[in-house]
Symmetry: C2
Subunit: 452 residues, 2 copies
Amino acid sequence: MNEDKNIVIIGCGAGGGTAAQFARKTNRKAKITIFEKGKYPQYSKCGLPYAISGKIPKIENLIEFDKDWFAKSKIDLFLETTVEKIDTKKKKIYAKKVNKTIEKTYDSLIIATGAKPFKPKIENNDLDGVFTLRTIEDAKKIKTYIKSCKYATILGAGLIGLEMAENLYKLGLNITIVEALPGILSNNLDGDMAKIVAEKIPDKIKIFTNSQTTKVIGNNKISEVIIKNKETNSENKIPTNILIIATGNKPEVSLAKSIGCKIGNSGGVLVNSKSETNIKNVYAIGDCTEFLDFITAKYILVGLGSIAVRQAIAAGTNAAGGLYELPKGILNTSTSKFFDLEVASVGPTTARLNDYTVVSAHFNGSSLPDYFPGGRPVSVKVIVDKYTGMIISAQILGENAAQRVNTISAAILGELDVETFRKLETAYAPPIAPTLDAITLVCDIISKKLKR
Amino acid sequence: MNEDKNIVIIGCGAGGGTAAQFARKTNRKAKITIFEKGKYPQYSKCGLPYAISGKIPKIENLIEFDKDWFAKSKIDLFLETTVEKIDTKKKKIYAKKVNKTIEKTYDSLIIATGAKPFKPKIENNDLDGVFTLRTIEDAKKIKTYIKSCKYATILGAGLIGLEMAENLYKLGLNITIVEALPGILSNNLDGDMAKIVAEKIPDKIKIFTNSQTTKVIGNNKISEVIIKNKETNSENKIPTNILIIATGNKPEVSLAKSIGCKIGNSGGVLVNSKSETNIKNVYAIGDCTEFLDFITAKYILVGLGSIAVRQAIAAGTNAAGGLYELPKGILNTSTSKFFDLEVASVGPTTARLNDYTVVSAHFNGSSLPDYFPGGRPVSVKVIVDKYTGMIISAQILGENAAQRVNTISAAILGELDVETFRKLETAYAPPIAPTLDAITLVCDIISKKLKR
């Protein structure tokens, strides 16, 4: 690919940065420009909780591609630069860096504007000590602020909320988690599986589910939060020196909207498997987008860095004149680790499968044959479509949960039915894995249920 | 399934025992009888090397289902009983226990006679201190004998040879490995990958490849072996107190042959995906059989316990009146661990792909994102059919090699091409796995090669 092409990318997160990289790989002559509002080039947002605790020694370690890398790749990177307007007729964007306006013509435009933390309306939530966590700047502020803190309260028991809880717990803080829904990790796990994770969380960390934070109390600085159980209406006062709000994100789509990009029901820019929007030559990727769910074929918000990166590969390649098409939808393969328990999932939870008649099973196995010392628990739930027998989703807790989920992800991508998948030859050796793995044994149970 | 049926199984290894178990699960009323030559009911042969070193504390721990279990399941188990004759017209088998002859009528017969260690012709290989390893009895003898040994020589650098080498090394013995082929693990790995494994083996363990053992020397007891390099003809004298022969197995098919079962080119009974032989109502499973390779569609010897168990599920279920069909062939997913390096593979090595035009790539990645401390190497080779793009095989070394190979096994079973598989969404989280896993990154390289 050698044609001269202007590619403009708005946003230099994992999405924007990766898109630039793949545009460059695809087209050595293209002019590639990135505009990024923030101070830092491409870094790992997912690593922030671990940089706050010091598990990752320096926050700047999270920068995956620095300014030099972009310079070497001949990608023009404008940091602390805000795109103010896009003119799709002139194919021009207008950006502002301090007081200077920058104009840039594009042949292809990639919108990678990400998302903003969603802050529920709570009285006094602008006091000192109330934080959200999305950027390096946020992490730096939190890392400094917690030095004087004894009590941390975290709103939201999703992946990020729990990751923050664990990292702050390891720093010696007293932790309270407040979750509005009846269980933790409800985006990733069914209630029965989430319960097993909750049991692994040390008793010292208090978890209030079904609870809303109604008020932040303090003089300038936060000192307490008032929470209210949504069922019983009983209130609790939680001593709080720092409040971390981790109740999800809102796609940042104002620029996309301004040029007529179609926005979905969840507020994200609708994109297809080439990362194209409905506007010609305009791509969108990452947390500001909605893409189809592989199973339900419904648009869902893209909320995972791993998906953003894959969309970015598509957008960068296509914008530069190549051809890259993702699978027909998102699997939502995801993982994390809480207090040494690995948690992984792929596909919709049962709550998102109202339109389906499903059969599921849960199996508790071991990572090693019974006779070999050192085996650790592996707990697997698999959900299957009752009528087609196709594997829809899986939730795994324990040893190598993520790698085990990857195997089921491959099965879903390959549209294998449970009858075929349960006969998969998995690798066996006494020090490594049992003859029959929990991921296929659970499918034997489902197979039996289907034949009833 | 309630019909009264006589099921006779010859051999109570992992295959025979599992077949009995699934026959019982399928048919509560069936009369199930097992005849086993040896002293012990179903145990793990694969665990023997670890029981010799004491990693598994007692050799008897390897017994997975004991006599009581068979009694409770109402399975008649005859130990130390040799089947001498099968009469397919009368549907009768004749067995001998000490001097007593036992006659048994069958409706379905399952042959699970396993294999015998192959002992190459070497002068004096009947001296004390020369062993093969196949049974608990062998392991017990070796465990006692090594107490007085300082030097161990192992013939064969396959999985079992190397597992023995590591376990004896950990007991403090001086180890020499002698392999006739140019590299180690040639059944599982290509030369380039095997070399990486060889480099992980401590220098103190001497490996002679391309070498034959020509003579065993000793008075009653072995004291030395003479080995000869097949290229240079140079000879070496290796001080040896114990010689372990691990040069493969020969299927035990005399009974199957006697009733007209078709035998394949590698000496095993030919079976289909229902574990049926060519003789009506006669099934065969495990190391005494040949089944189709999933990729090449050629008959190959079954050499893995994991496959024996899967064939046994099919044979046991079908013999008892159920229906269970395995996939169209064997993937040969396998794994082991040598000196903390996990090794896993699926599908034929390049040497077995003469009839194919293949494209392969090798990628060295990490188990974690670069910024997260503690990442370990993951080295992946994938082989793809040049014309169809289908994934044929994979060889992985390093962190979670076995689980990673399982994901590729699922892709092969689902007949995914490399273009689809490389876009697989793998689970990502900083403490667990990188955004893009080595198993898909290697496929990106192959995709590029295919497009050239």
